[in-house]
Assembly symmetry: C2
Homo-oligomer: 147 residues x 2
């Protein structure tokens, strides 16, 4: 089979497996992407977050609502411009992020268990080259656009 099909097959499989794993934390992949983004760049407006995740702002609202009600994320109004809602993780959000990382490591391990260390490193290098060539933004999953 060619590389393109293998990549697509494995990638969609990996995404589905990850979705199953984080479902145990009661999270969906877009929610996880939001949490990770807010963790790495706290204080972004909802418009900015929506743009980075590649989704309409209207869709982000429901995403933030759910995590806000669960006490994972919070909206902080900007006093200088009260239209803006800066997004931040709460303490519980930081803790959840830690659990997401644990799940992520287990996922990585399960997916690559057939490879020795050298092959693992080679694969990582080659995939990184492809991702750069394809113009993919590190850490931003194209599937957040529609899942």
């Amino acid at each position: 089979m060619n590389v393109a099909f293998l990549l697509s097959q494995l990638g969609v499989h990996a995404a589905a497996q990850f979705a199953e794993r984080i479902a145990e934390l009661d999270l969906t992949p877009p929610q996880t992407g939001l949490i990770r983004l807010v963790a790495s760049e706290p204080g972004l407006s909802q418009q900015a977050v929506a743009a980075r995740l590649g989704m309409p702002a209207s869709r982000l609202v429901a995403l933030v609502d759910g995590l806000d009600e669960r006490g994972v994320v919070e909206r902080r109004r900007n006093p200088q411009d009260r239209r803006l809602h800066a997004l931040h993780l709460t303490k519980a959000g930081e803790e959840l992020l830690g659990r997401i990382a644990v799940v992520g490591r287990a996922h990585e391990q399960a997916l690559t268990e057939g490879l020795d260390a050298a092959d693992h490193a080679t694969l990582q290098r080659l995939l990184t080259v492809l991702a750069e060539k394809q113009g993919l933004t590190p850490g931003v999953h194209p599937g957040y656009r529609r899942i």
Copy 2:
């Protein structure tokens, strides 16, 4: 970035790019999967095809309807058991399959253009190992289940 995330990112990207390309043939990825399967194993019943593609038979009906109306696929009733509809490609279907192959080669080329021949071969080998370990069926895309 870890291998799992890179794979997922690249895989979903590759699937989206492929979907765009075959849209020029007025096809969706599930339709393409159906055409390929019928080409490689002509005469399967709709139930058998649905099982292999991992979708409910009720969903396959609409898929076959569309390709049937376009003269790409045809249902042949089995005289021994008139409940069964064996699926076959028409002449036009064979021709379309050829155009799909052309698109597939262009897609492969565009996706791997950053790699030299040795790296390309290495990547193909490593991905094949992973796909086998993960129990993925050659030629069957897990995304056909829901796109």
